[in-house]
């Protein structure tokens, strides 16, 4: 890289500065709100982790979509679409339901239950429902391991993007980016994250529209681009892609489970379904969420696929989007458009970081190590912010010089979280018979069979391994729950009674 491209770097730096301002503003709101409500540790936790359940509809939708859409949808996915053409856009559109599905399925029932039980996170929900130390510890460990790996991978993606487009070297780019995310999360808590996500959701939408429009006009319209893609390789415009046997029907269809219906089981996503103010917010949130997620998914992936006729021979998939942006726009505008993919990463990492902090402080520390913290606002605040900074430091250290293990863990991150959380959440919410032994059996079967398939049968029956492992996990959960003691009357009453 020959020197820094200041014209592109400065808009990005200004954007990052705005994140700090929002973080500080949110910190003051959180502190004031928890002091107003009596100033003890548990109100602070509720304020820090769910923003006092005050999100409106637009904010709810933006934070949900921005949390869910990550480097995968803004950098990796479009990069793959560049190689495989419309087939990969077709695969990505298995995410059509994402915007409405989670909020409809968890719905108001999840919000009502979380208010009855005072749950601030998915782990709180599981603790109240199953009343089992083992379930909670597996859940917390799964969150800590899988999410730290997932966050490092996101940071690597963002650092490469910054490196490729501004000329910063990899490590400075990583630190520049990571410090911004970690600090604004640590000081701002859920409120700061939600404010930021909302801003970032808007930036991501505008950036998607700008890039898509630029690609279309440079390529001479849809019809012309599609014909040029066909001339490159007819496979580019079929649902089977350019590589024989890679995008087979069962495998591609499996993505409806992996990134479509099972997304309900991702903790950072489910946490958002606890945080809204009232049913009106949920209703408008579902509509905004559906529109925004579809526009971004279709826009970014099509931009990647159409990019194949504008720029040729891009070596690495991750460089497709930054190369397109720097080729198509004036350097200053490129800085603004690049804020979109960076925002996608930032809004995902900040939410994941908060979930990890909740797992460490709320689930493990306060419950098992020092229950006295619940009444001590100042100590709890120090520990929470400290944990956030420490986890951030670990994540950056892993991304600095990524070890083999990290790459390996990240492959399993989403699927691992789904195997752990999907059935205990859904069955706990909708089935009175769900109990702790069932949940444990389901988690063990889910994670175990997923690892087994991944190593020994990469495409069981032609499917992605997540599909059979979720089926087996469900079967194990139901069979064991039927054979063991029903959950106590008190739990049923707490969840289903008035």
């Amino acid at each position: 890289m020959s020197g820094l491209r200041w014209a592109t770097l400065l808009p990005i730096a200004a954007y990052f500065a705005a994140m700090y301002v929002i973080g500080f503003y949110a910190m003051r709101l959180t502190n004031r709100a928890s002091l107003d409500k009596g100033g003890c540790g548990s109100t602070y936790m509720e304020e820090y982790m769910t923003g006092g359940r005050a999100s409106g509809g637009f904010v709810l939708a933006m934070t949900l979509v921005a949390t869910y859409l990550s480097a995968g949808s803004f950098i990796g996915g479009p990069g793959t679409a560049y190689t495989h053409g419309l087939a990969w856009v077709f695969l990505a559109m298995a995410q059509i339901p994402t915007g409405y599905y989670t909020l409809m399925v968890l719905g108001k029932k999840f919000a009502i239950v979380s208010r009855k039980t005072g749950a601030n996170s998915i782990s709180d929900f599981l603790r109240a429902r199953y009343n089992s130390g083992a379930v909670l510890i597996i859940a917390s460990l799964s969150i800590i391991c899988f999410l730290i790996a997932a966050m490092s991978a996101q940071l690597i993606g963002a650092a490469r993007l910054l490196q490729g487009s501004t000329g910063l070297d990899y490590r400075s780019a990583l630190i520049f980016f990571a410090v911004t995310v970690v600090v604004h999360t640590a000081i701002g808590g859920f409120r700061g994250v939600v404010f930021n996500d909302t801003l970032q959701g808007v930036v991501m939408t505008l950036s998607t529209l700008a890039l898509f429009a630029a690609v279309l006009s440079r390529g001479g319209g849809v019809a012309s681009i599609v014909q040029q893609m066909k001339a490159l390789d007819p496979g580019m415009i079929t649902p089977y892609g350019v590589q024989e046997g890679f995008m087979s029907v069962p495998w591609v269809s499996s993505f409806w489970v992996l990134v479509g219906f099972a997304v309900v089981g991702i903790p950072a996503v489910a946490q958002r379904a606890m945080s809204y103010r009232d049913s009106k917010s949920l209703h408008s949130g579902i509509i905004y969420g559906a529109v925004v997620s579809i526009v971004m998914l279709l826009g970014m992936h099509l931009a990647g696929a159409f990019g194949s006729v504008l720029v040729s021979d891009i070596s690495s998939g991750d460089l497709v989007i930054p190369t397109l942006i720097t080729t198509l726009f004036h350097p200053v505008v490129a800085g603004l458009v690049l804020a979109g993919p960076l925002a996608a990463v930032m809004s995902t990492v900040d939410s994941q970081l908060l979930v990890v902090v909740a797992a460490i402080v709320n689930d493990l520390l306060v419950n098992y190590v020092n229950p006295g913290l619940k009444t001590n606002l100042r100590a709890l605040r120090r520990i929470t912010v400290g944990t956030c900074l420490a986890v951030g430091a670990v994540t950056v250290a892993l991304a600095f010089d990524p070890p083999e293990l990290m790459v390996w863990l990240n492959l399993f991150a989403t699927a691992g979280l789904l195997s752990t959380f999907l059935w205990p959440t859904i069955l706990g919410l909708y089935w009175k018979g769900a109990n702790a032994p069932g949940a444990l059996a389901g988690m063990a079967a889910g994670i175990g069979t997923y690892l087994y398939f991944n190593y020994l049968m990469p495409r069981p029956l032609g499917l992605h391994p997540i599909v059979p492992s979720l089926v087996l996990s469900l079967a194990a959960f139901v069979v064991v729950a039927k054979m063991t003691k029903k959950p106590s009357r008190e739990i049923i009453r707490l969840f289903w009674g008035l």
Binding site: I96, I112, A223, P239
Partner: protein
């Protein structure tokens, strides 16, 4: 209000919640069906024989573009016509009875 087999009055809001969740699943399944039929039935032949809508191959237009529009329209329909506003906090028995009555008046 009627008690269930465990001897307590169930939260009356859950019936609506569960129905709304089913609508979400139903719309998801419809989107999946349109996606699969559009993609693999219309897009099954050779690229030479494709027809086009607005420049996109027909299979892609149906399974991705039109399907997205369907998801948005379906979501708006469900939210505006099939979902009910309700309080989310804990309820007393009187409030629950009042809520059930309000539901009967609505329908």
């Amino acid at each position: 209000m009627k008690e269930n087999e465990f001897g307590f009055v169930e939260d009356p809001r859950y019936r609506e919640c569960e129905r709304e969740a089913l609508y979400g699943i139903l719309l998801g399944v419809i989107n999946l069906a349109v996606w699969a039929i559009g993609g693999y039935w219309l897009g099954g032949g050779s690229a030479e024989d494709y027809s086009y809508i607005m420049g996109f191959p027909t299979w892609f237009f149906v399974s991705c573009v039109a399907n997205s529009a369907l998801a948005i329209v379906g979501t708006i329909y469900i939210v505006k016509r099939r979902m009910r506003d309700m309080p989310l906090g804990p309820m007393t028995e009187e409030e629950a009875a009042e809520y059930v009555l309000a539901g009967r008046r609505r329908s």
